[in-house]
Symmetry: C2
Subunit: 416 residues, 2 copies
């Protein structure tokens, strides 16, 4: 299988947007790319075939979740994530850190896993120089994640792209706290790299399906909202021998301003020939900000999570005509009564399976009576929407019209 | 579109089993056929395309559920069930009676609709000569179903096969009670027939998709477990001008004996050229009993409901080898720990999408973490199992080996 390689195909002249291709042992990722999230080893409600039909090149699986269930004994036995999930295209795993640091946020985890019975009255997360000690959200049992252990877990799962274990800086935070957290992230980056390199020499799977393919490691930049720290972190992480760069902790802050600023500080300092990933960001308007600043990939649960709530993505143009009840720019809330007799598809221009076969009235009904089928129909629509947008973005970079597309998309004046 | 017609293709010589074809305006139903259930306008978790791929010729939608949600205003607007669900093959609807009479059984309805918040402390079901007054399981509002109203509801939904409104006899029951209930069923059958005929002259839909196709009506036989009543009911209902015969109330009693006996009394009295449906029965061993007694179609939630609980259908042979933990003859409980590292498919011989792509370990994991995808993978497997069995049964009737297949299936001695 081909090793890991980033190919820069075209650099936009009017912005830092770039068109590229990440070659992995399980196939290519066309960039800029949206990375869907399959938290527990499944992009909720969809089969691998549907993901392929939707143009999904890669999705992310959460190490924290897979570590707890099904656990690494199972991963070892089945020969890693590709074989387990029946997905033979690229996979990313995260370091496990983000979920661990988020353990205090019970609500997030509960809604993310569908485990409504979760009850952690005294969530314990203890951060030391070695790593992070935490309790399982399933049964309260105690566990310790270290950089080395995170690398071992990711190696066992055998994704194509791994992320170094970092200290997810809390927010709000003071400069000295952020500095300390960043410095720890840098030390952990070194440890991650060392452990990952060691694992390259170790045969893990006997299974032919998963094999011992090249597994890339991205270093993670932290530094919160401080220019000095972000720039320093960008330089330090770029200076290490990672296959790619991840930027963490950018979806903090009160608005989108902080994110944009962080990217403006960081991306000019990154090497051109290395792929860049932003962790946990991907709302529609974010996407244009990320791409215009030279980000190649980004993962986000938003499109799939919104889908399961009945919030369906549509082009800006339509929104003012079709759903006056919400101010959200790119979505309609299909659970609203106004759609109960609406025989039109969710989006008349959309070519997704859902829009080609079903009316708003049917989707509305299925949500209202909580039929299982609808979470899937909605997820198909939202992923199709994002992936079509990503295709448009890639075409526009290729033919030099990315800024026009951005303007058209974000600042279109509604008719009527 | 072709009118409704039953074609008897072959009569088995060693049993009353028969091979046939029901022609409907939306296509043919090969019989004997299992009729899947799409309670609220969706066979839970599956798309129409998947149902077709699984060889589903027809499924049943519950009038009671559709009447409450989405309601008949929506049905009128969208042009009936075929257009609403995006399903252009045959559909059956029931009379609405069974759910109404079952309203007291809260648990059943709650699990059937996924509405866990349901709370009816004093379910009101009042039966008079006119019909049945009941309260909605959603909001407690009061409603009245009469034979005429049931016919109007079914006509609005535009299924290919309707069922006459009957009095679902409770169980246990005395002879005089059962007689009274049967006589009411007969009066309601007449009223149903009259109302249905009147509707044939009325244009309901303007939509071309649904149109005013021929809609068949099946009369319903009652009489509980009493030979005299069942035989009387069989004669009375057969004597009316119905397109087909439904047999209701056979899944009562303590075991399967009552069901078999009722069928033995009833089916010899039914006309040969009329299709026969049994309401609400369809476990694996039931299927052989039904078919051997000349039943053409039967609907049952069991295979799809079991699927969502992780109870997956497998051939008798395997069961003793693979799941010693349960005594159920035709299923394994995939949620059991013994499957957590099992890299084999659910059933090695199965050609369904799930078995071709995923391991028991993956299906087990998805159930354990409650991932949406799994309800679908399990449903696909169970429907595929039943429909493959039905195909085998039809072939065996055609070549005169139905009784051999029955013996092989039901009485196979496990190895080891």
């Amino acid at each position: 299988m081909a090793p890991f390689r980033f190919e820069l195909l075209h650099q936009d002249k009017k912005s830092r947007a770039r068109l590229g291709r990440i070659h992995t042992p399980h196939g290519d990722i066309q960039t800029p790319a949206f990375v869907a999230v399959g938290t527990q080893g499944s992009v909720k409600s969809l089969t691998p075939d549907e993901l392929k039909d939707l143009g999904v090149d890669v999705f992310m699986v959460n190490t924290y979740h897979m570590y707890l269930r099904p656990g690494m004994d199972v991963m070892k036995k089945v020969g890693g994530l590709h074989a387990f999930m029946g997905w033979n295209k690229p996979i990313m795993t995260d370091s496990g850190g983000f979920q661990v640091f988020s353990l205090a946020r019970k609500k997030y985890l509960a809604s993310d896993t569908g485990n409504q019975s979760i009850k952690i009255d005294h969530p314990l997360v203890k951060i030391t120089e070695d790593g992070v000690e935490f309790r399982s959200h399933w049964d309260g049992s105690k566990h310790l994640f270290t950089p080395k252990f995170s690398m071992e877990l990711q190696w066992l799962m055998g994704a194509d792209i791994h992320i170094a274990f970092d200290d997810c800086t809390p927010y709000p935070v003071t400069f000295p706290q952020a500095k300390k957290s960043m410095e720890r992230t840098h030390r952990w980056a070194k440890e991650s790299l060392k452990a990952h390199r060691h694992l390259r020499g170790v045969k893990v799977f006997t299974s032919e399906v998963s094999g011992n393919h090249y597994q890339a490691l991205y270093g993670s930049i932290q530094g919160s909202i401080f220019e000095k720290l972000r720039k320093q972190s960008a330089k330090v992480i770029s200076g290490m021998d990672f296959d790619g760069i991840a930027i963490g902790g950018v979806s903090v802050g009160e608005g989108k301003k902080e994110m944009v600023q962080v990217l403006d500080w960081v991306t000019p300092l990154l090497p051109k020939d290395t792929p860049r990933h932003v962790l946990g960001v991907g709302e529609i308007d974010d996407i244009f900000e990320l791409v215009s600043r030279g980000i190649d990939t980004f993962d986000c649960v938003q499109p799939t999570r919104l889908a399961r709530m009945g919030r369906l993505l549509v082009g800006n143009k339509q929104i003012y005509k079709s759903d006056k009840s919400t101010n959200r720019k790119f979505e309609i809330d299909i659970t609203k009564k106004e759609y109960s007799k609406d025989t039109k598809p969710i989006d008349a221009a959309c070519m997704c399976y859902t829009c080609k076969h079903f009316s708003r009235a049917y989707v509305h009904h299925l949500f209202r009576v909580r039929e299982l089928l609808v979470y899937r129909l909605a997820t198909i629509h939202n992923i199709h929407f994002i992936n079509t947008l990503m295709e448009d973005i890639r075409s526009s970079i290729a033919d030099g019209t990315f800024l026009e597309l951005t303007r058209q998309y974000l600042y279109h004046k509604p008719r009527g």
